[in-house]
């Protein structure tokens, strides 16, 4: 199948998938690789400005691309169903669950109602009348996603397409939703296509995997085979970029960025970012069968055989401990209106060390970081910076204190003013309080950009012209020009692809080596393992566990930490997979 833009640029090129009943196919790739376009194309749908140029989608004897409009509508109900990423936006907030669920069913009300209850039981939700009358906004994110899945499977389709269904969910909720999908595939003989950027999720849910890059399939095969012996350099690189919860490793980012539509090198689409590029790569390779997997590479042997395989170099977790913390918080209580969000929270940030604050959504971890920076108004407690008391709101702090604490935001899209060039944003940061000459500011800006690995030439560009990873680096550079002593990082990597996340984590590690103190707020324990020296676990606004990173992650005491750890999805380690495959060969 091929999808092209109206001007003829290819968005997806020549993709083929084949699945048997009951199997799950994972589609994985960085953002911009064409995963979602493919998922929609399988429904016979193309976004405005795109069209499906040629190909066929055959689901259980129905060719989706040969149907007329009415038939297509019916097929999207009875043959293929779609679950979107954000259930909050996919469910009409004004309709009751009963209406939502029975919308696609025929028959009288009792029958429809009975079917709705059945499906609710199946997805593990209550099936009583009061629940059926609820509106989506009265449900939690995980419940909403279950409803979205229930809506998709209620008409008993043959194929269900899930587009990043667990991306916005907490780890424990995610684990439950994944269980549900696996169960449904077995009990309803449902075939599923699971689109995700998260390799760990795909590895846990899928039987087969398709790795996409720049609108092409670069590798396709059985999950086990691909996992144990990735053959395409891109697949290998993706695996290398995933942080592990077991051990601190050197993460290997993929340099450069995903090519846009109609861009990219004329030969192998990955050749400009590939570490193993050779001369033959200037001709586009075909998708060849190698072993049991299909690979689009001129050398389809397992990647590690023709290059030094990435070695997980241990990154030292222990740095010389300074006895004096830079930033210290004691008995912080924070409120939203009358509701108390944080209860008696205390922590210490030491120079050259990273303190991670871990918790699920709603645990108050973002509120905590906003209290520290002084942007949360309704808060009590004591803060000290370098032993001197620090006022709780930013307006009362002196300029030096403001500059020494720098905040980096989760959403890299919004952390830079879109109407200002990168250079101007950085220069403004430099100008505040300190005052400077244009010439000096130019040098400082260039130096800061170089420190975060961004070419100073990009200073004249607008944030919209940069990739997500580049924007996040610029945000870090902007914090650095103020010469801070503490960086407060609020989920800085959660909106980034793994390949980019790896590079940001490596950057933050190098900043720690420079002696900065860091507070790292996140929900991802694997990231915590790879950057933090000590950790604080927040649950419902209270610290339930804190201590050294190794102690907490390897022998958690509090049940909440334990549940976080057990629900963490991990990429099965490549070595274990290899041993298994060796065993089967024997």
């Amino acid at each position: 199948m091929t999808v092209e833009r109206s001007d003829g640029a290819l968005v997806i090129e020549d993709v083929s998938l084949a699945l048997r009943v009951g199997e799950v196919m994972g589609i994985v790739g960085e953002s911009g690789s064409g995963k979602s376009t493919l998922a929609l194309a399988l429904l016979g749908y193309a976004r405005r400005g795109l069209r499906i140029a040629h190909g066929s989608v055959r689901v259980a004897e129905t060719d989706m691309l040969q149907l007329d409009k009415a038939e297509l509508r019916a097929a999207r109900r009875e043959v293929v169903a779609y679950v979107a990423q954000d259930p909050g936006a996919a469910l009409n907030p004004m309709l009751s669950l009963e209406t939502l669920l029975t919308e696609v069913l025929a028959g009288n009300r009792t029958e429809k109602n009975a079917r709705a209850r059945e499906i609710l039981r199946k997805v593990g939700l209550p099936d009583d009348n009061s629940f059926l009358q609820r509106k989506p906004r009265q449900l939690s994110g995980g419940q909403q996603q279950r409803i979205a899945i229930a809506m998709a499977v209620i008409a008993k389709p043959r194929l269900i397409i899930l587009d990043e269904p667990t991306t916005g969910l907490d780890v424990s909720t995610r684990a439950r939703v994944l269980d549900l999908i696996r169960q449904l595939c077995i009990s309803d003989s449902l075939t599923a296509i699971y689109v995700s950027h998260d390799l760990a999720v795909i590895a846990n849910v899928a039987d087969h995997v398709t790795v996409m890059y720049g609108g092409q399939v670069v590798e396709q095969g059985c999950m086990q085979d691909v996992l144990s012996a990735p053959r395409h350099p891109y697949t290998r690189a993706l695996f290398d970029a995933v942080p592990s919860i077991q051990a601190r490793q050197a993460l290997r980012p993929i340099h450069g960025r995903v090519p846009g539509v109609g861009e990219g090198p004329s030969g192998c689409i990955f050749s400009d970012r590939c570490e193993y590029v050779v001369e033959e790569c200037s001709v586009r390779p075909a998708l060849n069968l190698a072993g049991n997997t299909l690979v689009r590479c001129v050398r389809p042997e397992p990647v590690q055989t023709f290059g030094a395989r990435s070695v997980a170099v241990g990154h030292p977790a222990c740095r010389p401990t300074e006895t004096r913390p830079i930033l210290e918080a004691r008995s912080i209580d924070a409120f939203y209106g009358n509701r108390q969000i944080l209860f008696d929270v205390g922590l210490k940030v030491e120079p050259g060390r990273c303190l991670a604050v871990v918790g699920e959504s709603g645990s108050g971890k973002s509120t905590l970081s906003r209290c520290l920076i002084g942007l949360h108004g309704n808060v009590t407690g004591q803060l000290t910076l370098d032993g001197r008391p620090l006022p709780l709101t930013v307006g009362l702090r002196d300029q030096n204190a403001r500059l020494r604490l720098q905040y980096i935001f989760q959403n890299s899209n919004a952390s830079l003013n879109p109407r200002r060039t990168v250079g101007a944003s950085l220069a403004a940061a430099l100008d505040i309080g300190r005052g400077t000459t244009p010439k000096r500011s130019g040098t400082v800006v260039a130096k800061a950009l170089e420190r975060v690995g961004i070419s100073p030439d990009l200073a004249t560009r607008y944030p919209a012209e940069l990739s997500g990873g580049q924007r996040q680096r610029v945000a870090i550079a902007r914090a650095l020009v103020a010469e801070p002593s503490v960086l407060l990082c609020d989920e800085v990597t959660s909106s980034l692809d793994v390949s980019v996340q790896a590079s940001v984590i490596e950057l933050l590690r190098s900043l720690l080596d420079d002696g900065l103190g860091m507070l790292f707020v996140t929900h991802d324990l694997a990231v915590v393992r790879n950057i933090a020296d000590s950790v604080v676990v927040l649950s419902a606004g209270r610290i339930v566990e804190c201590g050294d990173i190794d102690t907490v992650l390897s022998s958690p005491r509090h049940p909440y930490t334990q549940s976080l750890l057990t629900n963490m999805l991990q990429l099965p380690s490549a070595d274990a997979g290899q041993e298994a495959s060796v065993a089967t060969m024997l």
Binding site: Q406, N417, S425, Y462
Partner: protein, 289 residues
């Protein structure tokens, strides 16, 4: 000998600043239209074949070789009056639009940034203005002080400004929770700098739309004022006034009323096209990151 040529897509800098706007077809047409209209208004009096205030023949004569658009209710040449009749509009409308948008935006941004009682006081006083019918106010003031051009401009600004302020405040409020504004607050940037550097550039697309819209509205209000006799006074040549003078003769000599209407329409469309096109360009290139 072997030669390997590596072709890479060169980075071509996108046009920045005002040049971006010129890339839009809508903006180009709008600018062409406005420039043409302004030029016509400026040099019109020189081109006019007759004195716009003096009768040249019988009333309501149909177009002829002598008078290309015929004559009006008093026997004056319609072409000459159309060519001379845009002067008031040409300076009063843009000034009213600019002033109302500037003052409205200033009030809106201060209200949005400061919040609390400042916001409450500013916006409620604007609500009072909004609730008071603009036409009534204008009629009242013109009756008391006489139809002076500057008074008219002031009244139009007063009428349009609350609407502008509402829209811009609405656009600015969500920006206050954006990370770059929070960051600016966290490092202690002065309020005025935040308003000018962080907020103002990011409301520029609704701002441009407002500017175009209010230009059209000012033209409309000015023409209506002339039409009901509370604006520019006869015997001066003015498009709105001409419509009113010759409205009753629409059956006998339609050009006398239609020609000024067409001119007003062109002038309005020019402003709207620029506003609309500019808003689109900005939304496309910068709006979504």
């Amino acid at each position: 000998m072997e030669l390997t040529v590596v072709l890479r897509r060169r980075f071509r800098p996108r046009p920045v600043g005002w040049w971006r706007l010129w890339a839009s077809v809508q903006v180009r047409w709008g600018v062409v239209l406005l420039v043409a209209m302004t030029a016509l208004i400026a040099i019109g009096p020189l081109l006019a074949p007759y004195d716009p205030a003096a009768p040249v023949g019988r009333p309501y004569v149909s177009p002829s070789a002598d008078a290309w658009l015929g004559t009006d209710n008093l026997g004056r040449d319609v072409l000459s009056r159309v060519l001379c009749g845009g002067v008031y509009l040409a300076w009063m409308a843009p000034i009213s639009a600019l002033l109302s948008v500037t003052i409205g935006t200033a009030i809106a941004l201060v209200a949005a940034y400061r919040g609390g009682w400042v916001d409450l006081a500013l916006m409620r006083s604007l609500d009072v203005l909004l609730a008071f019918p603009g036409v009534l106010l204008t009629l009242l003031c013109v009756s008391v002080f006489g139809p002076q051009p500057l008074l008219l401009v002031g009244l139009i600004v007063l009428t349009l400004m609350p609407g502008v302020a509402r829209v811009i405040r609405g656009a600015a409020l969500p920006l206050l929770n954006r990370e770059y504004v929070l960051w600016a607050k966290a490092v202690g940037t002065p309020g005025l700098v935040i308003i000018l550097r962080e907020l103002l550039p990011n409301v520029s697309s609704p701002l441009l739309v407002e500017l175009g819209l209010r230009l059209s509205w000012s033209v409309g209000i000015l023409s209506s004022m002339s039409f009901i006799g509370y604006g520019i006074q006869p015997p001066a040549a003015d498009w709105g006034l001409m419509v009113s003078e010759n409205g009753s003769g629409l059956g006998a000599q339609p050009f006398a009323a239609l020609a000024p209407i067409v001119m007003i329409v062109f002038y309005t469309i020019g402003g709207s096209l620029i506003a609309e096109g500019a808003a689109r360009v900005i939304a496309r290139t910068e709006g979504k990151a």
